[in-house]
Amino acid sequence: MTARTHPFQRKTTVASYREAGVFWALRAFTYIILGFGVIIFSTIIYKGSPAVFGSERIDGTFPFLHNDFLFTKPQTLHVFKYKGEIKQMSAADYYTFVGQSPDASTPPPANPLTASPPSPVLSTTGINSSDITDHETYSYAAGGIWPQIVGTILLVIGSMAIALVLGIFSAIYLSEYSKQGPLISAIRLAIINLAGVPSIVFGLFGVGLFVLAFGWNISLMAGWFTLAFMVLPVIITASEESLRAVPKGFREGSLALGATKWQTVYLNVLPYALPGILTSSVLGIARVAGETAPILFTAAYATSDKLPWDLNISPDRLHSGFLGYLEYPFAWLHDFAFHGVNALPYHIYVVSSKIPQNEYTERVQYGTAFVFLLVVMMIALASVLLRIRLRSRLKW
């Protein structure tokens, strides 16, 4: 045994081994999780980014952006051998190639996901259909995902607007107006628990209430309300927290100057709670944008690639003349709210489960996932920037 040189001499004991062991175990677990995260994200980025930033961009479009993927509608991908050479073409290109009008003769298989390719006929372009062999088609694998992007954005904006209005109002009631008692505690507990309900349950609730009982069918409207109810618990809880974080002195000071309750809340509490509410809503946005289950039966059609500006209001529905012009915006709004949309998470679900996974479909599968990540990140970034701006103006 070596002589101690001072009272604080380091000793090697069981305890010190245990300390080191715990440290390394914790560290290892953390890094393993991190590793998985890196693998997932890098796969999506590696495989998905070529679809967006790929070399296949169309000449004359914005540099490095493969605008086709972002800004066109999905198409069926045709893969075939022509004179022994493998060719991949979107449906439109294919029918031009074989000199056939897709509308005139055989329409491209839209929904039957693994339909047999159209029977080859002799074309006007001089392509001999017997030169085309090994013809396969993959739904949605060509073209882009523009309707899905638009659908996601519409769903997020609408449902967040509904959820924020409802959520902030009820949070104000719960934390500023209601007398704290067993009933309010029960309501609060119910709301918190609602946040843990699986999203598929909200989906079913949406089908039962909005789609069937209210007769809204599968529509943007039904999707908005279903998603709004799904994020409401998060928003109410976050709003209540933010309201509580506003110092009591602001309320008392305001009331002592002869303000009414609503004046106090509106002028001297809500403005200071808003940054917090918006920040916490980021979580809600990510959830609204990301959930598939709630929109599965309420808002999304796999085949819906109708954009809001494609809505066709037939003149028969409107009165003729001046009245018709007045009616038009309402008819448009009605159709807009009640048309089904598609959305990125739902598209990911469809293209990864309903069409084969191979080199031809990877582009749309990972590309959609990649774009989806970008969209969510951009929404989050925007909210954070908004918060920083609001926060720097309102500080106490």
């Binding site: 008392e252 009331l255 002592a256 002869g258």
Partner: protein, 300 residues
């Protein structure tokens, strides 16, 4: 003090009507010096000054627990009344009863008795609490400027009443800030954030904000407890000045402060009023043993 004696003595009306505007006819100079041993007749004058708040056998409850037991005394007009007593004795509770700030706390109620301001029972259902609070301003222990500009802090009360006339607001800002002895310090930065002010300035801003709505009574709950001695002196000087126009009720833990700036002192213990008298009487020759013990620092 001495200069106000005559006017106080001549007033014999017990109450004034609530909707009377604040009289500003006093021609006397402001006395900044602490209360010096005044004559016996001055004391009597103070105790006989007209009553503005009449607290009548008030019992007050937080839920089941009784915080005030049969409090019964008048608060005199245009004088400074100090509430002293050990922590938890109910000073803030009573103060907050006077502008019904306790309404904000769930489960509170006045069990018995009444509080009358200018003869009106303020807990009567016919009373508009908003109007009451405009007449009875409050300054809190922790200064609570709003995170707005100095200017917007002062005009907050006026904007609530729908007054948005620029000239009127500007005039009020200057008058209130001068009234709170803050004008010279902030006149060049009225539109910067009130949170940039020092603690003492913030508290004086809160006083300015309270007088901007022209109340008759100002309640102050330990207004100097977070301030350094110099800022405290400024607020005390301000209180001296304000009592020309306002009735002031101040809660304090600082005996010297109560001695310096109040005319009448009420001593509370365990939710009961033990003694109320002219300040110098309380501090030099209290009738109750408990008061003496507290003032001499033997408990509390």
């Amino acid at each position: 003090m001495v200069t106000t004696k005559a006017s106080l003595m001549s007033q014999t009306q017990p109450t004034t009507m609530m909707d009377e505007s604040i009289p500003t006819t006093q021609t006397t100079e402001v006395v900044h010096t602490p209360v010096a041993t005044p004559s016996a007749s001055d004391k009597a004058a103070r105790l006989n000054a007209p009553t503005i708040i009449d607290i009548n056998n008030v019992d007050f409850y937080y839920g089941q627990s009784k915080a005030l037991h049969g409090i019964n005394f008048p608060i005199k007009e245009k004088l400074v009344t100090a509430f002293i007593g050990p922590s938890g004795c109910g000073k803030s509770t009573l103060l907050r009863c006077l502008n019904r700030m306790n309404d904000l706390v769930d489960g509170t109620r006045i069990g018995a008795g009444s509080i009358k301001i200018s003869g009106v029972d303020i807990y009567d259902p016919s009373v508009d609490v908003i109007e009451l609070r405009k007449r009875v301003g409050m300054v809190f222990q922790k200064s609570n400027p709003f995170p707005k500009s100095i200017y917007e802090n002062i005009v907050y009360g006026l904007r609530l009443q729908g007054i948005n006339n620029k000239g009127r607001l500007d005039e009020t800002v200057e008058r209130s800030l001068r009234g709170a002895a803050l004008w010279e310090e902030v006149r060049d930065r009225l539109h910067t954030s009130a949170l940039g002010l020092s603690g003492g300035q913030q508290q004086r801003l809160c006083i300015a904000r309270a007088i901007a709505v022209e109340p008759e009574i100002i309640l102050m709950d330990e207004p100097c407890s977070a301030l350094d001695p110099i800022a405290t002196v400024k607020v005390e000087e301000l209180i001296h000045q304000l009592k020309q126009d306002y009735t002031i009720v101040i809660v304090t833990h600082n005996m010297q402060q109560a001695g310096r700036c109040s005319d009448i002192t009420a001593f509370f213990y365990m939710g009961r009023l033990i003694e109320i008298d002219a300040t110098e009487k309380i501090f030099t020759n209290p009738t109750q043993k408990q008061t003496e013990d507290y003032i001499s620092g033997r408990f509390g």
